[in-house]
């Protein structure tokens, strides 16, 4: 029967540094297995769509620009992704992997959460088409 059995802890911690990390001024290194933001390499993709089929939250969408020449653009909804890495496992050609550096993903606007992956010209083509599509629609409304 002791009174004050945590006395040793209490006295020791008075003289030690507090264990709290003063994030964001002090940042710890992320481990290498961390499942951060998804990264897609368009060069090896064959368009099998296994990643899209098995995503639990339908965060991936593969837009086919040219099926024969394997030109795809992937639309990745960062705000719907659950970071489960099932798509990484499914891909047989190792096109996908989860980055361990990009894990501070908070943002105040909606735009950073819709990520388009693909070759430069493909993505530009797609975005311009979308902008034209919207402009046409708003013309139609008038």
């Amino acid at each position: 029967m002791t009174i004050g059995s945590m006395l040793g802890d209490v006295v020791k911690s008075f003289f030690k540094k507090p264990v709290t990390e003063k994030y964001p001024f002090v940042r710890q290194e992320a481990p290498e297995n961390l499942r951060g933001k998804l990264v897609w390499d368009p060069e090896k993709c064959t368009g099998c769509m296994l990643c899209v089929k098995d995503c639990p939250s339908n965060a991936l969408e593969l837009i086919v620009l040219d099926k024969v020449n394997k030109r795809f653009v992937m639309k990745y909804n960062l705000d719907q992704c659950t970071f489960c890495a099932q798509c990484v496992i499914n891909c047989r050609f190792s096109c996908l992997n989860m980055s361990e550096e990009q894990w501070e993903l908070a943002s105040t606007k909606k735009e950073p959460f819709e990520v388009y992956y693909g070759r430069e010209e493909d993505v530009k083509f797609l975005l311009e088409k979308a902008a034209r599509g919207e402009a046409e629609e708003s013309c139609k409304e008038d």
């Binding site: 004050g4 059995s5 264990v19 297995n33 098995d54 639990p56 989860m98």
Partner: protein, 394 residues
């Protein structure tokens, strides 16, 4: 006004929002001075419709949905689901995968018990123990992050095996972590069993005898603290447990102190198991191919969550989507013990008795409809449900 208050029963609600509860649940304690004379409970505040949601998703997507039933015991939910699917498809995951599943499950048990130690200490007003045990819990969270990639919702399972592997650097980190935690746990065991003020809050409080425990159906560490010798890892071993068995930890006192002691001793068992698995990890592949369409059948899958026995009933109709999955989580069985042992104790003991069963409200909420009149199965759609709810509250 005083006469009116004396004749009515004085009901203290520990209600959906209360600092004692980390998750919403409604308890009403009828109090006479400070002594509790009656207790009722109402759950269902965290119902998310997961059993219905999983019927719309294919088997792989369902794995990740089921993992999110609970944050603290997420890996065992995924493991139960994956084991059930593998049983339906009649395949066996390779031994390395089973061992890694057990490793992550034991690490999760460590994290859950340390979390519980802190929360129960906080309910008893012992904030220092709360802060220190949560500081030590960061060690196991960092280990889990190193191995699986995330601190909660580890997603280590896939249908047919695991998706993570353990290399030597991680093995060393695991060994070091276990050494540190074992030393700290010895200290906590001393604190819990010897500190006068803490014993005044836990000894002889919430006593549940062996007969009461078997009658009320208490499982998990709550039941084992009363002498019930039930542990799914020992009764029907699954995953890696046939190769790395566990020793069951029980106590006979049945009071709150016994529940503390049982959980801390289970921590020792987990440390021993983690070290054993790390030292003798079998070689081989990590996964086995599972077909997209699972053959028809019904299967029962039981695993030992940190809170008790987790029970999955899975029915497949041959397509790539499950037909029915029923989840019965361990906390649901332990509520009866709270309501019975609460009577006769003081109001100040209520939060500790509630915390003593390690309640996990988000696991709990399934919809149970008991309609005495009709016996055939019913299918209700959204409009029927809404109408029923409106009628109920009128």
């Amino acid at each position: 006004m005083e006469a009116k208050q004396k004749s009515e029963k004085f009901v203290v609600p520990i209600g959906p929002q209360h600092p004692a509860l980390k998750e919403p649940g409604h308890f009403e304690f009828t109090v006479d001075g400070e002594i509790v004379t009656n207790a009722t409970a109402r759950l269902g505040f965290v119902h998310r419709g997961m059993e219905k949601g999983v019927e719309d998703r294919n088997w792989t997507q369902g794995l990740y949905l089921m993992e999110r039933v609970c944050g603290i015991c997420s890996h065992v939910h995924a493991m139960a689901y994956a084991l059930g699917v593998e049983k339906l498809a009649n395949i066996q995951a390779p031994p390395r995968a089973q061992a890694i599943r057990e490793l992550v499950a034991e690490l999760e048990r460590i994290h859950s018990h340390l979390l519980w130690l802190g929360v129960a200490a906080h309910e008893g007003g012992f904030d220092t123990l709360f802060m220190f045990s949560w500081r030590d819990r960061e060690t196991v969270m960092d280990l889990l992050e190193t191995i699986t990639g995330n601190r909660v919702n580890y997603s280590a399972n896939v249908l047919g095996g695991v998706k993570i592997d353990i290399n030597d650097a991680q093995k060393d980190a695991l060994r070091r972590g276990m050494d540190f935690l074992e030393e700290r746990t010895k200290h906590y065991l001393k604190v819990v069993t010897e500190d006068e003020t803490f014993l005044g809050r836990t000894r002889k409080i919430g006593v549940m005898t062996y007969e009461e425990a078997t009658l009320l159906g208490a499982i998990g560490p709550t039941g084992r603290a009363s002498g019930v010798q039930r542990d799914v890892r020992v009764d029907s071993p699954y995953a890696g447990y046939p190769d790395f068995p566990v020793n069951i930890v029980t106590s006979v006192a049945g009071d709150l102190e016994a529940r503390f002691v049982v959980r801390i001793k289970e921590l020792y068992e987990s440390y021993r198991l983690v070290r054993e698995i790390v030292d003798h990890l079998p070689g081989g592949d990590l996964t086995v191919k599972v077909p997209r369409r699972i053959p028809e059948g019904e299967v029962i899958s039981r695993v030992e969550a940190p809170r008790g026995e987790l029970f999955y009933f899975m029915k497949s109709n041959g397509t790539d989507k499950p037909e029915r999955i029923k989840v019965r989580t361990p906390s649901l069985c332990n509520w009866g013990s709270v309501l019975t042992t609460a009577i006769g104790h003081k109001l100040a003991d209520m939060p500790m008795i509630l915390a003593g069963i390690d309640p996990c409200f988000s696991c709990n909420d399934r919809m149970v409809m008991i309609s005495g009149k009709k016996t055939e199965t019913q299918v209700w759609d959204w409009e029927d449900l809404r109408q029923y709810g409106i009628e109920y509250y009128k």
